[in-house]
C-alpha cells in the first residue's frame, strides 16, 4: 500500500512537546545550567565545568546524608512491606467490617504531609505531647530533640503510621482477586497455612507488591516534609536526609552550583533504581506470557 507523506501531522504533536518542554525539559535544563556554572546572582554565570560534580562526589557531607537516606529507606521497606502484607491477610474479605477497615486504612493517606509532621511533632513533645508526656511519666527517657536515636524512632514510626496503609491496601486488592477455588483446592490438597501463603497468596500478590515496594522506595528516598517539620534534620545532622540537605545547601547557603550537581545525581539514582524495578516487573510479565 502507498503511504501518504504529510509533514503537517507534526503539528498535532506540538502541544504535547510544548507542555513537556515547560513542565520537564526547561526546568531540568536550568538545573543542568546551574550545575556547570558558578553564579553570584544578577544572572552572571562563570563556567565551572564538572567542578561541582567532583566536589559533590567526594563530599563527606553528601556521603553521610546518602548513608542515612539508604538506611532510612531500608528500615521503612523492611517494616512497612511485611506489616502491610500481614494487615492485608487479616482484613475481613467482605461485609460491613471490610468497608470499615478500608476507610480506616485509607485515612492516614489522605492527610497532607506537613500536617502529618505537625501531628507527630506535637504528639512526641515531652512538655505537651500525649506520647512524649506519658513516656516521661513511665520513666522512659524520650526526647526527639536531643537524642538522635529517639529522633530516628519518631521519624520511622511516623512514616510507618503514614504509609503502611498503602502497602496494605495494594496487597488487599491483590488478595481479593484470588478465586475461592484456589483456597478450596489447597484445603483438598491439605496445604499448610504457610504453603497457602507461599504458593497461592504471594504469587498472586507479586505484581502489586512490586508496585508497592517501588512507590515506597521512591517516596521514602525523596522524603522531606515530615522529618523537616518534626526534627528539622536534627539533632545535629542525624535526621538530615538527602532532600533536607539539598534544601539546606540550595536555599539556606545559596550554594546553587553544588546543589544543582547534587540534584542531578540524586535524580539519576532514583531513575536508575526505578528502571531496575521496571525491568524486573516487565520480565515477570514476560515469563507469565510464555
Amino acid at each position: 500500500m502507498e503511504k501518504t507523506q504529510n509533514n503537517k501531522a507534526w503539528f498535532l504533536v506540538l502541544p504535547v512537546l510544548v507542555i513537556v518542554a515547560f513542565s520537564a525539559v526547561i526546568p531540568l535544563m536550568t538545573v543542568v545550567n546551574y550545575s556547570v556554572n558558578d553564579t553570584f546572582g544578577n544572572n552572571q554565570f562563570f563556567w565551572a565545568g564538572l567542578e561541582w560534580f567532583e566536589e559533590m562526589v567526594t563530599s563527606n557531607r553528601l556521603h553521610e546524608a546518602l548513608g542515612r537516606q539508604i538506611l532510612f529507606s531500608a528500615i521503612i521497606l523492611a517494616i512497612e512491606v511485611p506489616l502491610g502484607i500481614y494487615i492485608a491477610l487479616n482484613m475481613p474479605k467482605s461485609g460491613f467490617w471490610a468497608s470499615v477497615c478500608l476507610v480506616l486504612m485509607a485515612l492516614p493517606l489522605l492527610i497532607p504531609f506537613n500536617v502529618v509532621g505537625t501531628i507527630w511533632q506535637i504528639f512526641g513533645r515531652v512538655d505537651i505531647g500525649l506520647l512524649g508526656h506519658y513516656l516521661a511519666e513511665l520513666g522512659i527517657d524520650y526526647n526527639y530533640t536531643n537524642d538522635p536515636l529517639d529522633a530516628w524512632i519518631t521519624v520511622i514510626v511516623m512514616d510507618v503510621w503514614h504509609w503502611t496503609s498503602l502497602v496494605a491496601l495494594l496487597c488487599y486488592a491483590g488478595l481479593q482477586s484470588i478465586p475461592n477455588a484456589y483456597y478450596q483446592a489447597a484445603r483438598v490438597d491439605q496445604a499448610s497455612r504457610w504453603a497457602v501463603f507461599r504458593y497461592i497468596e504471594l504469587p498472586k500478590m507479586a505484581g502489586v507488591l512490586l508496585i508497592a515496594v517501588l512507590l515506597r522506595f521512591m517516596d521514602s528516598f525523596m522524603i522531606y516534609t515530615e522529618p523537616f517539620v518534626v526534627t528539622g534534620g536534627g539533632p545535629g545532622n542525624s535526621t538530615t536526609f538527602l532532600s533536607i540537605d539539598l534544601v539546606k545547601m540550595a536555599v539556606g547557603q545559596f550554594d546553587l552550583g553544588p546543589a544543582a550537581a547534587f540534584s542531578i545525581m540524586y535524580f539519576l539514582v532514583i531513575l536508575l533504581v526505578s528502571w531496575v524495578f521496571y525491568t524486573v516487573m516487565t520480565n515477570l510479565d514476560k515469563e507469565e506470557g510464555k
Binding site: P179, A181, Y182, Q184, A185, R187, V188, D189, Q190, A191, S192, A195, Y199, I200, P203, K204, E287, E288, G289, K290
Partner: protein, 362 residues
C-alpha cells in the same frame, strides 16, 4: 474408600431459612455405593456444586449428616475426609513446576520421595504431560492447566472419593473425549468412588454407571442411563435427558387407557385412580407417524440431523417431537401419530406413577 451416606441432608445459604424456597438443597437421603462412578446431572443452579462441596467438606450443611462408611464426617475438615476434588476452572500453583504441582498433595501428606517420584511419572504419563514436567505451571494454556488439576486430583491412591466439578468445561472437544475415557479407565483400574458433576447429558451418560439427576435442589432420580431413558421418574428427567426430550401431554387416565383431548391412547399397564395434574410421557423415538390411527398431529417443521429426522409438530396445542428413522417417508399424508403403548409413562404432578397391573390382568 468408603460408601457415602447422606442423611436428612439439606442446605441453605440463608442464615435463617424461612421456607423450602430458601433451601439450595432440599432434604435428601441417599447412599452412594463404594466404588461407583456417579454423574451428577442438572441444569445450572440446581444445587449440584453445593452437594459436591458438602460431600468434600468445603461447605457445612445446614442440617443432616454425611457419613463415610460408618464414620460421621459432618464436622470433619476437608483434609481429614481424604477426598480429591477437581474444580471447574483450572487451579494450579503458578510458581511451582508441573512436577511439584503433581507431587504437592503427596508431599503434604508426608509420602516418601521414591513413591512420590514413581506416582508423579505415572500420572504424568496418564495426562500426557511427561515432556513438560520441569516447566513452571505459569503460562501454560488453560487446558494444560486443567490437566494438571486433574492429575493432582488423581495422584493419591488412597482417597475415599474423587469429585469432579464440571472439570472438562475448558478443554477442547477432542481432548475432552480422551480424558473422559481415561477417567473411566482409571475408575475401572483403581475402583475409586467417583462423582462427576456436569450439565452435559452425553458426558454424564458416557462416564457414569449411575446418573443422579438433580432439579431445583432435589435429587429427582438416581439410576442407570437406561432407566433414565426408559422410565424417567420425573418429567424433568424426561425433558432433560434425550435429544429432543420426552413429549408430555395432558391426559385423563382411567384403567388401561389415557384420553388426550377426547381421543383414546391405549396404555400397556392399568392404573388406579390418579390425583393431581396427569400427563403421559412418550419419547420421540417411540412415536410413529401414520396416515391414520393415533392422534392427529400438525407438522410444523422437519429437521434432518443426518442419522434421522426430527419432526416438530403439535398435538392438541402441545408441542410433540417425533423421530423418524432414515429412509422412512414423511409426507403430507402423514396426519396422525401413534405412541408405542409399552413405552408410555404416566405422571401425576410431574412424578411418575407405576401401573397397578398389566392390561391383560386388569
Amino acid at each position: 474408600m468408603a460408601q457415602i451416606t447422606l442423611k436428612n441432608l439439606a442446605h441453605s445459604y440463608h442464615a435463617n431459612p424461612r421456607g423450602e424456597q430458601d433451601f439450595a438443597l432440599k432434604e435428601m437421603d441417599h447412599v452412594w455405593q463404594d466404588g461407583g462412578a456417579y454423574a451428577l446431572l442438572g441444569s445450572s443452579g440446581c444445587g449440584k456444586t453445593t452437594l459436591l462441596n458438602i460431600i468434600s467438606g468445603l461447605l457445612k450443611p445446614s442440617q443432616g449428616r454425611v457419613l463415610f462408611g460408618d464414620r460421621d464426617v459432618t464436622e470433619a475438615e476437608t483434609a481429614e475426609r481424604n477426598i480429591a476434588q477437581v474444580f471447574q476452572f483450572p487451579v494450579v500453583y503458578d510458581t511451582m513446576t508441573v512436577r511439584d504441582n503433581l507431587a504437592f498433595p503427596l508431599r503434604n501428606r508426608g509420602k516418601d520421595a521414591a513413591y512420590i517420584k514413581a506416582r508423579v511419572s505415572q500420572i504424568a504419563a496418564m495426562i500426557g504431560m511427561e515432556a513438560m514436567l520441569d516447566r513452571k505451571a505459569r503460562g501454560l494454556t488453560a487446558d494444560a492447566k486443567q490437566k494438571i488439576s486433574l492429575g493432582r486430583g488423581m495422584v493419591r491412591e488412597d482417597v475415599n472419593a474423587i469429585l469432579f466439578d464440571e472439570p472438562l468445561t475448558v478443554i477442547d472437544p477432542h481432548m475432552k473425549w480422551e480424558l473422559r475415557t481415561q477417567l473411566k479407565q482409571l475408575h475401572r483400574e483403581f475402583g475409586h468412588t467417583m462423582i462427576y458433576v456436569t450439565h452435559d447429558q452425553t458426558e454424564a451418560l458416557t462416564f457414569a454407571d449411575k446418573v443422579v439427576v438433580m432439579y431445583d435442589g432435589r435429587v429427582v432420580q438416581m439410576g442407570t442411563p437406561e432407566e433414565l431413558f426408559e422410565t424417567p421418574a420425573h418429567t424433568f428427567v424426561g425433558y432433560f435427558i434425550g435429544s429432543p426430550g420426552m413429549n408430555l401431554l395432558d391426559a385423563e387416565i382411567s384403567g388401561g387407557a389415557a384420553r388426550v383431548n377426547g381421543a383414546v391412547v391405549p396404555l400397556a399397564g392399568s392404573y388406579g385412580p390418579v390425583a393431581g395434574r396427569t400427563q403421559i410421557g412418550i419419547r420421540p423415538e417411540y412415536c410413529l407417524l401414520t396416515e391414520g390411527g393415533g392422534l392427529p398431529i400438525a407438522i410444523r417443521r422437519v429437521e434432518d440431523v443426518g442419522r434421522h429426522r426430527i419432526i416438530r409438530g403439535e398435538v392438541a396445542g402441545t408441542p410433540v417431537n417425533v423421530i423418524a428413522p432414515e429412509g422412512m417417508p414423511v409426507g403430507a399424508t402423514m396426519t396422525h401419530v401413534r405412541f408405542a403403548p409399552e413405552r408410555i409413562n404416566v405422571y401425576a404432578d410431574d412424578w411418575r406413577i407405576a401401573p397397578t397391573g398389566t392390561r391383560g390382568a386388569a
